[in-house]
């Protein structure tokens, strides 16, 4: 594990610029260089895959990614982190500008100091290893914005790390797509922070698409002020080791969060989603659905946690985990959890693990469809629910065709 060695031998700072943030992270990581496997959120992580994630040379340079879909349209602003020029656009109805370093530090530090290093390991590592030019900080304001597309990518045989911080001002409505592209034999660490101010709305899509032996840890931290709406659609596939950590904090309650995510595993892959949703005020709303599909010898993990303290009266939260297990050698772990103290709340969660519905398959076959056609139809509807929740995926990238083509 090259990277851990670098950390323990204190060699990181020589190559990096050594910002305050990096110093905080280094101190914490030197105490606990690896995540604690006894902690719930790391217990299921495949140790050898995690070791491989950490076993590439650190890279700060930019390599142009192969974006798997055509042409940019006029209505999209595309940013590739590491390559982006200073951005400062001001139109009549909206404005996007770069965040200054101090603001970035404030936003991230707040999160890093609030919880222990086990909860934060992915972010600590990311901030230690991301140099200045791979940090993208944006402030967004206004309405009728063009679609914002932010790409992060890794280069083969290298460890790549990127940080994204977006502050969304009051009354702003914006659509953001994040595309994480994993190259052959590479690692990508991505930490994202979204701050939603009052009355703002973000439709956020995260598509993580790997190649052979790609590794990814993506930590996403969302802070919602009151009357904000956060919609997230996420899709993870083709990573040998893929991990999405979602932390949603409704700071004042009174906000809405809708999440639809899907992970597809095949071969020997392990893909996990960890979602913690904390309500720190009354009248919060959550509707979360996480789907997974596991083939071959793969392993799919979902762990959810809804935290409702006494202050969060009238919270209405629902979390569902739906899983399809399609092979005798694949494995699915799911753990949707509730921690509730407030008494006037409506919380429910559910989990199912099954295979494709036999009765439905039989019905379609009795109408003349082949088993393959019938399964495809079922999978199509299984995927479609999530894909249709991603902003503008249809025009940009025919994900459904791509998913159905894979086996």
């Amino acid at each position: 594990m090259q990277i851990i060695e670098e950390i323990s031998k204190n060699r990181i700072n020589k190559s990096a610029s050594g910002s305050i943030l990096q110093k905080i992270c280094l101190d914490k990581l030197q105490l606990n260089p690896l995540p604690n496997h006894k902690s719930e959120i790391w217990r299921m992580a495949n140790k050898s895959k995690l070791a491989r994630f950490l076993d590439y040379k650190i890279n700060h340079d930019f390599y142009k990614p192969n974006i798997p879909y055509e042409n940019e349209s006029q209505k999209v602003i595309r940013l590739i982190i590491g390559d982006h020029k200073k951005i400062n656009i001001k139109e009549q109805e909206w404005e996007i500008k770069e965040l200054d370093d101090q603001k970035i530090l404030n936003l991230i530090q707040h999160k890093l100091l609030e919880s222990d290093s086990t909860q934060n390991w992915s972010a600590l590592l990311n901030h230690l290893l991301t140099n200045e030019k791979n940090i993208c900080g944006l402030n967004i304001k206004g309405r009728n914005l063009p679609h914002l597309e932010i790409i992060t990518n890794s280069k083969n045989n290298l460890f790549n790390s990127r940080t994204l911080i977006i502050n969304i001002e009051k009354n702003t409505e914006v659509e953001i797509s994040q595309i994480n592209l994993g190259d052959d034999n590479s690692s990508l660490s991505n930490s994202s922070y979204l701050y939603l101010e009052e009355d703002s709305q973000v439709n956020h899509g995260i598509v993580s698409y790997g190649k052979y032996k790609s590794h990814l840890i993506n930590s996403l931290n969302v802070f919602q002020k009151k009357n904000s709406v956060y919609n997230l659609g996420s899709l993870q596939f083709k990573f040998d080791f893929g991990r999405l950590e979602i932390n949603i904090n409704q700071i004042e309650g009174n906000a809405k969060t809708n999440i639809k995510g899907m992970q597809i595993t095949q071969d020997n892959e392990q893909i996990s989603t960890y979602a913690k949703i904390a309500f720190n005020g009354p009248n919060g709303f959550l509707d979360q659905l996480n789907k997974s599909l596991a083939r071959d010898r793969s392993h799919s993990v979902f762990e959810g946690l809804i935290v409702v303290p006494r202050i969060a009266q009238k919270t209405d939260a629902s979390q569902l985990s739906r899983n399809l297990l399609l092979s005798n050698y694949a494995k699915i772990d799911t753990k949707p959890q509730l921690e509730i103290i407030a008494d006037d709340v409506k919380c429910m969660h559910g989990a199912t693990i099954s295979q494709l519905n036999e009765n439905e398959l039989f019905y379609m076959r009795s109408r003349g469809l082949t088993l393959e056609q019938a399964s495809k139809l079922q999978l199509r509807s299984y995927y479609q629910e999530i894909i249709s929740f991603l902003p503008i995926s249809k025009e940009r990238w025919d994900l459904l065709a791509l998913l159905l083509k894979n086996k």
Binding site: R310, N328, D333, K346
Partner: protein, 480 residues
């Protein structure tokens, strides 16, 4: 709002089993070490193999760490400050009930478990355990006519050593967990049941556990074996006096069901829970597990947990035999400062195994109530099915309800379904009942027992009524 001031006026119903029996006890000195274990074993005249079983367990226990993962907070237990053996002094060999100290019979009378022939329950055989020893077992002879063995585990160790040697520790090995290891080293008494092939046990069997002494722990051990095509329903009840110290109870229950056998194990646990300030009460750390070894065998756990300061308990089923069935029905009610962490593990190993989990948690006062469960479908469990339902009801805004279900599947041809929800008694429901003339407290207890209906339906008749009564008793005052 009605609910806000409900819990503030907690006037707890006095615990009615809190009395102490004045009886001379034989106690050994405090603490645990190899000599103590040898002493317990020699007091019970145990054969060599059992002493070895105990010593082996003790070694393992010493090497283990006390678990801290359960969602519980309590002061550290000093294991050297506990008396591991306490028995009411009486004649060495008791051959009939007439020789039992009348004070003990009186105690069980007061608890509603009369043992003497004139008064005893007619449809249930009882094994009464007082501190570390079994006092009496009723209907032994009648049961023996059917080939059913029902006696204290100490007797079984002497008289049925073949069965003990074969099955003791076969479901829960000494190394299973910290408290199981401790129990295996020092267990004092408990019940033993053997149902021979093709026998349906003619009456319900039950054990009644009574902790009397304040400074001794209770470590009973129960073993039930159901041979092919046999069936039995077993009930367990528990009470303890009120002490302001905490008493440790670390029991082990092992069940084995062979082909087509079925065991139904029901518990109403009402150990002393401590007072409203959380002083005193039993620490109830129990390991219960059943092995469905045989094809089409069935093990069903139902429990109503209302007592104890802390409960840590996961009655589980290992489903090995093809088409075997595991069930878990639970009501856990916590009030004041009680903490309960309970649930089950359903381990599906054999094909076409089925399990059902229904858990109802009610938290009132400042208590905390967690469901923690594991459903595991192994790679050979083709056609396995699980359905789980975990509902929580919160009364007042200072109680906590947590749900930690853990589901793992390695078999595509299987189905797992888990549902959980949280609710409270709504003001509208209360008003509706009140507007029909039903008193406030009765309305609350009607709704609580409605909430628990699915579980109560699983309990044997006498128990269901008792459970219902117990719940309304426990809730009295908490919502007034």
């Amino acid at each position: 709002m009605v609910n806000d001031n409900l819990v503030d006026n907690i006037v707890s119903e006095p615990y009615k089993y809190g009395f102490v029996t004045e009886i001379e006890s034989e106690k050994i000195s405090k603490g645990i070490n190899e000599d103590i274990i040898r002493l317990i074993s020699s007091k019970k005249n145990e054969p060599e193999y059992l002493l070895n079983f105990r010593l082996n367990a003790f070694k393992k226990w010493q090497a283990m760490e006390e678990p801290d993962w359960a969602d519980l907070g309590y002061e550290a237990i000093d294991y050297q400050d506990i008396i591991y053996y306490s028995a009411p002094k009486q004649q060495e060999k008791i051959t009939s009930l007439d020789e039992v100290d009348p004070k003990l019979l009186e105690t069980f009378d007061k608890l509603g478990i009369p043992l003497t022939e004139q008064k005893r329950l007619t449809n249930v055989a009882v094994d009464a355990v007082f501190d570390s020893v079994s006092i009496a077992t009723t209907f032994k002879e009648q049961l023996a006519e059917h080939g059913v063995i029902f006696c204290s585990i100490s007797e079984a160790i002497k008289d049925h050593s073949d069965l003990i040697e074969k099955y003791l520790g076969s479901v829960i090995p000494a190394s299973d967990n910290y408290f199981a290891a401790l129990n295996s080293a020092v267990f004092s008494d408990g019940s033993f049941v053997y149902i021979p092939k093709n026998v349906t046990c003619p009456m319900d069997l039950s054990s009644y556990f009574r902790i009397n002494s304040g400074d001794s722990g209770q470590f009973e051990r129960t073993l039930i074996i159901a041979e092919e095509a046999s069936s039995v329903s077993y009930l367990e009840g528990c009470t303890a006096p009120m002490f302001d110290t905490n008493t440790l109870h670390a029991a082990v229950v092992e069940l084995v069901a062979l082909d087509d056998a079925s065991i139904k194990y029901s518990t109403v646990q009402n150990w002393y829970a401590g007072n409203e300030q959380g002083v005193g009460g039993i620490f109830n750390f129990v390991t219960k597990r059943g092995k469905c070894l045989g094809k089409r065998s069935k093990i069903s756990w139902s429990q109503v947990e209302t007592g104890s300061a802390i409960t840590w308990k996961y009655p589980s089923c290992i489903l090995i035999g093809e088409e075997s069935v595991g069930e878990f029905y639970s009501v856990a009610l916590t009030n004041n400062l009680q903490q309960a962490d309970t649930g089950t593990k359903m381990i599906h190993i054999g094909p076409k195994t089925k399990s059902t989990i229904v858990s109802k948690g009610i938290s009132a006062g400042k208590s905390s109530n967690s469901y923690r469960g594991l459903v595991k479908i192994g790679s050979k469990a083709k056609g396995a099915r699980n359905y789980s339902q975990c509902d929580s009801m919160l009364i007042g805004d200072k109680a906590a309800a947590n749900t930690f279900p853990y589901i793992q599947s390695q078999q595509p041809n299987s189905e797992v379904e888990h549902e959980a929800s949280t609710c409270r008694i709504s003001e509208d429901q209360l008003f509706y009942l009140q507007s029909r003339g039903i008193e406030f407290e009765e309305a609350v207890s009607m709704m609580v027992s409605g909430f628990c209906r699915d579980v109560f339906n699983q309990l044997p008749m006498e128990f269901a009524a008792e459970a219902d009564k117990l719940l309304s008793l426990k809730l009295e005052g908490s919502v007034g």
